[in-house]
Every structure is written in structure tokens, then in C-alpha cells.
């Protein structure tokens, strides 16, 4: 490890994968961020679908509990929720296991991160998907019901496709939030992209190499996502009249 002082290393070498470069560290961080964002978003989507249908068609108790969940999560900063869930989730789980005479179990930090951000995502996605379902014209559902269409077919042919088109912009926004929220895990010492960037720049003092590089990486994620989502939205809206002039 005979690296020269950082001030004598070129920017490219600092970002590279050589012995004195921080490239591997940054790429690991990026990988962590993407894995957590994907995991949390998927978990959030499952919660969101369940939550939206529960809020619309569930029993009164379920409706109220879901309302409490979405209101609570959306009113408290993500950082605070992450801290509470981060310690409470593993702590409570282990306490229960211990009291039942089992051993402590190991939960990897990545899984914790995914569960925590997934619960946050779930609350927002519930609202977006619920809005998407509500925007499906009631007349169509009534017509389908009048024709004797089974409810599963109705969901598959009418509710879900139209809901998808309506909810897509909101869901797209939430995906971008998910990628950016992974940065919050840096505060609890998680080595995702933001933490990797700050460690690298603190060690080398090359702030204006690492921070712009990390920003570029985040931008690449968000711009490619936007592009892809635009494609998907076009596909989802096929057959809809363009309301824009």
C-alpha cells in the first residue's frame, strides 16, 4: 500500500480501480444503493397494492389501520423512521426470539435497509395506487358488472390496466425517491454510494473529484429511469386519447 499522497494522484487514478483508486469502493456503494432501492421499491409495491385494495374494499378496521399507517409514515421524516425501525425491527425480533427460547438471528444490514425503506415506500405507494384505482371510470365497472363479468376478469381487464396508466407518473416519482432515499442509510453508517463518496473524499481531500462523480452516477440512474418510465408510460397509455394539446 505505497500510495503517493492523494494530492499527487490524478483524478482519473483516484476514481480508477487500481491500488490507489477508490473505484471499487464507489462501485460497491452504487451496487448497494441499487440493490436496496430495487428491493425497497418492490416491497413497497406489494404493500402498496395490498394497502390500496385494503383501503378501498377492506373492512372498517383494516381501513382505519391503513389510514393510520400511511398518515404516520408520511408525516415523520424518513431519517427518523429509519432509525426507529432500524433498532426496533431487529431489537424487537430478537427479543421475541429470545423470550421463546430461540437464539438471536442475524439480519444482514441490506435486508434491514430494504425492509425499512420498503415500509416507507409502501405508505406512499398505497396512496398513489389508490388514486390510480379511483380514477378508473365507475361507469366501466358498472357496465362490466352488468354484463356479468367475474370480478377477477374485471380486475385484470379493466381496473389494473387503467390503474397502471393513472398511477405510473406517481409511481415513477416514488422510484426516483427510493433511489435517493438510499442515501439516508449513510447516516447510520451503511456503505452505500453517498457514504462511500464521503469516505473517499475525506481520505483524499479530493472533494471535487468524488462528489461530482457520485452526482453523475445518481443522475445516470435517474435519467435512465426517466427514459425507461417514459417508454412504459407511452405503452400503458396506448389507446388513450392524448389530453395535451
Amino acid at each position: 500500500m505505497a500510495c503517493p499522497p492523494p494530492s499527487q494522484i490524478s483524478a482519473l487514478e483516484l476514481l480508477g480501480f487500481g491500488e490507489c483508486g477508490w473505484g471499487i469502493s464507489l462501485v460497491w456503494g452504487l451496487g448497494n444503493s441499487i440493490v436496496i432501492a430495487l428491493g425497497a421499491y418492490s416491497l413497497g409495491f406489494l404493500i402498496g397494492i395490498g394497502g390500496a385494495f385494503g383501503k378501498l374494499y377492506g373492512g372498517p378496521i383494516l381501513k382505519d389501520l391503513l389510514a393510520a399507517y400511511t398518515t404516520l409514515v408520511r408525516a415523520v421524516p424518513e431519517l427518523v423512521l429509519i432509525l426507529i425501525l432500524f433498532y426496533a425491527f431487529t431489537g424487537a425480533l430478537n427479543e421475541i426470539l429470545l423470550s421463546w427460547g430461540y437464539d438471536r438471528i442475524e439480519i444482514s444490514p441490506i435486508v434491514t435497509g430494504i425492509v425499512v425503506l420498503g415500509l416507507v415506500q409502501g405508505a406512499y405507494q398505497t396512496e398513489v395506487i389508490r388514486g390510480g384505482i379511483l380514477a378508473v371510470p365507475v361507469g366501466q365497472l358498472e357496465a362490466a358488472r352488468a354484463m356479468g363479468m367475474p370480478s377477477l376478469t374485471m380486475a385484470r381487464r379493466i381496473t389494473l390496466p387503467q390503474m397502471a396508466a393513472n398511477a405510473l407518473p406517481g409511481l415513477a416519482n416514488l422510484w426516483l425517491n427510493a433511489t435517493k432515499d438510499t442515501a439516508l442509510l449513510a447516516v447510520i453508517g451503511f456503505s452505500e454510494l453517498t457514504r462511500a463518496t464521503s469516505s473517499a473524499s475525506a481520505s483524499t481531500k479530493a472533494f471535487f473529484v468524488f462528489y461530482p462523480a457520485a452526482m453523475a452516477l445518481y443522475l445516470i440512474i435517474s435519467l435512465t429511469s426517466t427514459l425507461l418510465i417514459g417508454r412504459i408510460e407511452k405503452w400503458a397509455r396506448r389507446g388513450q386519447r392524448d389530453v395535451r394539446t
Binding site: C20, S25, Y87, T90, N94, I110, G189, A202
Partner: protein, 253 residues
């Protein structure tokens, strides 16, 4: 991911596999040279790392390293995310109320660093109205709050942040561990901006009895760790490891 790779590497390195459950060693990922530091490639290095690898070997424990932010390292221990804290944590009365400690494995004085030519000394009167940078919830923070009542104490999450702000002139002094501080003062940035103002007067009630492994209260790991530390100390391995990093014994009296 990185941690999975790390723990894998750590597991392979020890390869004792005498116990099924690996012991999770929580380390603050913020660079704390020469004790703990992350390499650019994500592996760990430093005196404490060498030390704990040896301790695990002797105690026949399968150990893995888990990066845990200093800020929440005690809650992480008590809530079971990690089993041992190894981050140069000083053994203090306050902390003993919530966790147990092994015997100390090193003990060094506390240093004050200031900007070159500032003429500041670790004297409450001289520091009156000045800004002192420390790391949150450290013995140095507690010391600064108690002994420099007329100074503003600014608390940072990581050591690097305190150095950056000392170099940037946003704080007038930084109170830190003397070994860690001296290592930084010898770096390029440290040499350019700052100098030592000398060690602060000792106050063992606050500064503690040296650094030890933190464990959950009543955890039988304590005896194993103590035995390992004693044997490392007795057979000269301690001196061999220390010689790689320091020119003197850091065990303290």
C-alpha cells in the same frame, strides 16, 4: 454487499469454525488511523484489526466485521445487531451502566490540536470563547464540555469531519485521542495547517480507563475476551503487533 464480501473474507481468514454462530464485531466505518481504517478496496486495516484477529483466534471465535456508525453503536449492541464493539471505546462509568467491557487493551492520553501559530493551549481561560471540535458521544466530547465551560463545543459524526473543519478554520481546536491525532498531524493536510497544543490534563473519571471491547451486560464472551487479551499481552504478541504501528508501548500503566 461489501459487508457480505468482507465477512466472507474474515471468516475465511479465521477458518476456525469452532462455533456455528459468528461473533459480529461492530466497527465504526469512519477512518480512525492507526486503529481502524477501511482500505480503498473495502477491507479493514489498523492496529485494532490486527489485535482482534489475534483475539478471535485465541478465543476460538469465528468473527466477522460489521460496519456500524459510531453514533448508534451502543444501541446496535444492545439491540443485538452486533455482539462486540471494537472501536477504541473508552471504558467509562457512564457506559458501564448500559454495557459491559472487557479489560482494556490500550490506554493513551488525550490531545488538543490547533491551527499553526494560534498560540492556543489546553487551558480553560485561553479557550474561552473559542470553538472546539470533537466527535459525538466520545470521552473527548464529555471532557470538553466539562473542562472548557466557556468554549463552544461542536460535535461531529466522524474524526475526518473534525479534521476538515480544523483545517478549514471552522473550529479553533480539536480534542482527540493523542495517537490518532498525531497520525493526522503527520499527514499532508495536518502538516500544512495545524500543530499539537499538547495533551490535556488527565481526568480519569471522564476519560476512562483505556479502550476495551464493549459487550452486552452479562455476556459470557467477556471471560473469553479477557483471557485472550491477557495471553496476547503475556507472550509478546502484543508488542509485535504494536511495533508495526508505534515506536512505544500503548498499553498504558
Amino acid at each position: 454487499m461489501k459487508k457480505i464480501a468482507l465477512s466472507l473474507a474474515a471468516t475465511l481468514a479465521f477458518a476456525t469454525a469452532a462455533f456455528a454462530e459468528p461473533v459480529k464485531i461492530g466497527i465504526d466505518p469512519a477512518a480512525y488511523p492507526p486503529f481502524t481504517e477501511l482500505n480503498a478496496d473495502g477491507t479493514w486495516k489498523g492496529w485494532e484489526i490486527d489485535m482482534v484477529i489475534e483475539v478471535c483466534k485465541r478465543a476460538e471465535l469465528e468473527c466477522e466485521f460489521v460496519a456500524t456508525a459510531w453514533d448508534g453503536i451502543i444501541p446496535a449492541l444492545t439491540s443485538g445487531q452486533i455482539d462486540v464493539i471494537m472501536s477504541s471505546m473508552s471504558i467509562t462509568e457512564e457506559r458501564m451502566k448500559v454495557i459491559d467491557f472487557s479489560d482494556k487493551y490500550y490506554n493513551t492520553p488525550t490531545l488538543m490540536m490547533v491551527a499553526k501559530g494560534s498560540g492556543l493551549t489546553p487551558d480553560p481561560a485561553a479557550m474561552s470563547g473559542k470553538i472546539i471540535g470533537v466527535i459525538v458521544s466520545t470521552t473527548q466530547e464529555a471532557y470538553s464540555l466539562a473542562h472548557f465551560p466557556d468554549s463552544e463545543v461542536k460535535s461531529y459524526q466522524t474524526p475526518d469531519e473534525t479534521y476538515q473543519d480544523l483545517a478549514a478554520g471552522r473550529v479553533d481546536a480539536v480534542v482527540s485521542d493523542s495517537l490518532v491525532g498525531n497520525v493526522w498531524l503527520a499527514t499532508e493536510t495536518g502538516l500544512a495547517c495545524c500543530e499539537s497544543a499538547g495533551n490535556v490534563p488527565n481526568d480519569s473519571a471522564i476519560l476512562g480507563k483505556g479502550a476495551g471491547f464493549g459487550i452486552r451486560q452479562g455476556d459470557p464472551l467477556k471471560d473469553k475476551l479477557n483471557a485472550a487479551i491477557a495471553s496476547i499481552r503475556a507472550d509478546g504478541t502484543y508488542a509485535t503487533i504494536t511495533a508495526k504501528y508505534f515506536t512505544f508501548d500503548i498499553y498504558g500503566e
